[in-house]
């Protein structure tokens, strides 16, 4: 496999992991909204908390984490993007 192909394989892997996390916080939790709502977090019912703040915050964290991870992948294969190219 060429350098480019390896880079793309890793990029794809990173994309899949990111989307799996996205799927969990965006959908899986709310599929069970009814049953998790009896639990509480910070005094809020859990499902309410997750759609008011929890999942939103998780998305922000996932985005920063994923961007950093992808930068490392790019660096590893010598594809670091620079400004004004």
């Amino acid at each position: 496999m060429s350098n480019r192909e390896k880079h793309w394989e890793k990029t794809k892997g990173q994309m899949i992991v990111t989307l799996a996390l996205w799927f969990f916080f965006g959908y899986v939790i709310f599929m069970f909204g009814e049953s998790i709502n009896s639990a509480s977090f910070l005094g809020y019912p859990l499902a309410y908390y997750m759609c008011a703040q929890g999942s939103l915050l998780a998305f922000v964290v996932i985005l920063f984490w994923s961007a950093n991870k992808q930068e490392k992948i790019d660096d590893e294969f010598g594809f670091t993007s620079r400004e004004d190219e």
Partner: protein, 612 residues
Amino acid sequence: MFKGKFIDNLPKIYGTYTGGFLIFIILMAIAEQAGMEAKTIGIMFVAFTVAIYAFIGWLSRTVQVDAYYVAGRSVPTVFNGMATAADWMSGASFVAMAGGIYFGGYTYMAFLVGWTGGYILVSSLLAPYLRKFGCYTVPDFIGTRYGGNLARFCAVVVLTLASFTYVTAQINATGTIAARALGIPFELGVWVGLVSILLCSMLGGMRAVTWTQVAQYIVLITAYLIPIFWISNRGGYGFFPHLMLGEEVARLGELEAQFGLVKNAAADIKAAGVPGGLKSISLPHSGVPAGGMAAWKFISLALCMMVGTASLPHILMRYFTTPSVKAARKSVAWSLFFIFLLYSSAPMLATLSKLQLMDPTLPTGIIGKEISAVMAIDWVSAWTAQKQAFIADFNGDGILQLNEWFMRGDVVVLSTPEVAGLPYVISGLVAAGGMAAAMSTADGLVLAIANALSHDIYFKMIDPKADVRKRLIVARALLVVIGGFGAYIASMRITSILGAVAWAFDFAMSGLFFPLVLGVWWKRATRQGAIAGMITGLGAGTAYLIYVYPKFMGNPAWMGIDHLRFGIIGASVCLVVMVVVSLMTPEPDSATQKMVDELRVPSGKTILGKQH
């Protein structure tokens, strides 16, 4: 020389701006204490902020193509994040979101999840690759990746339909706020709103829109957060409401049980003469409705909004302005951070304002009190006179029950400072914030449409030899025409038949999501596949909308997919048709395949040249 200096000085410039704005708020507060009239304060707030945006728009004027279309690709990560957040959060987010939660509770909050989660799709599937491509507009990518004017044209059609559905609502919102704050008729307010929007964008295109959007973000977030913190601290609910309103949410549950959640019959509402668009609380605030269907409705709505987010051109094009691919990715993360600041506050505002009205032990509570006494409260009589609130004594006992109090959703944000007894300066600030939110989104949308028409239709199809001067004249003329058309539609007050803001997301996802994503992620995707996908996807989605929407054919929704979720049908059809047709047609030529390979590498030159 100036440009480099300008970019380096950004934190200082916007820091000074924020300080200036805070001083302005304090001066207004002092003026109010000194006896300045409420109306004058409202006018000052709107006029002062709009004048600043116009000034920024004038400073950012340009005669260069890449500055006009993509702000010279020099917008730093964090600032692009703020600009995107302002671009994203519309008048609807600012004014209507807390109102939606107020009435819809948990059920409505699917929008919060949907309107944030979409950024993960933007970041991992599209933004960095479109930035590497170096396009000026979204159809520019479709047109070049798949080749041919037909593909480009289809993308322009989807873009225009989705963005235009959205923009009339925004111009409508600027009109409403301008009319209220300046004390002029709505029809005139719409045109005042339009002029303000064009002042920001016309001379400098994307560059001007970027720098005004940053300024607008600062105003709108300040205007949203100050009242929430103020009310929370004054009422002793906790100094940091986001983490400390658990008891209040539980208290709302108790009050719901005490008063009973009653859904009024349509006939009763009609008989009592409740003005259109007003609602009463009939859904639990934090309770999750039972059953698999309710869970499916929640996640299907979130899905439509997420996929729609990743297909809306006015958002995607913001990431064309970053200096590098890496910066585009980071910038998506910052965008969502800035959006999060407002979105996570909306449920808190809804909780606090609901409690103010519902709790009979609070001096502000109105539910469970005598109707004659409630009607005598200043803000109640003012909003009732404007048909924004209404009391219908269904059971005739003279006591206001929960299901007898009707209000328009927008009023929640606009009236809360007044209801909670905050000084008028806060109401003026909120008006300025709502204006900033509606203007910034309208600017982004009008620019997205005008750029697609001027770059993709005029320059790429009609007159490829046009020089820079001519291209920019056409771009500006189109901006005025489209804005004018949007304002004209808004001034006719027919926006209610244009449907919900959610439709824009469904249109965009029906026609654009898979052609964009597969263009990057599937080399085998062909021109014929993309064209067939866009046409059938948009066609199927629109046909289903007509089939299911109560004001059109009004058929029962299939599997709970109602008019807010028709994108599920459109996007599925688009995906299937695009894959089948692509596999039936010969694979793309080697030049196209090489282009896709190049697209996936973050380093190196953009695929389209700096000037194209």
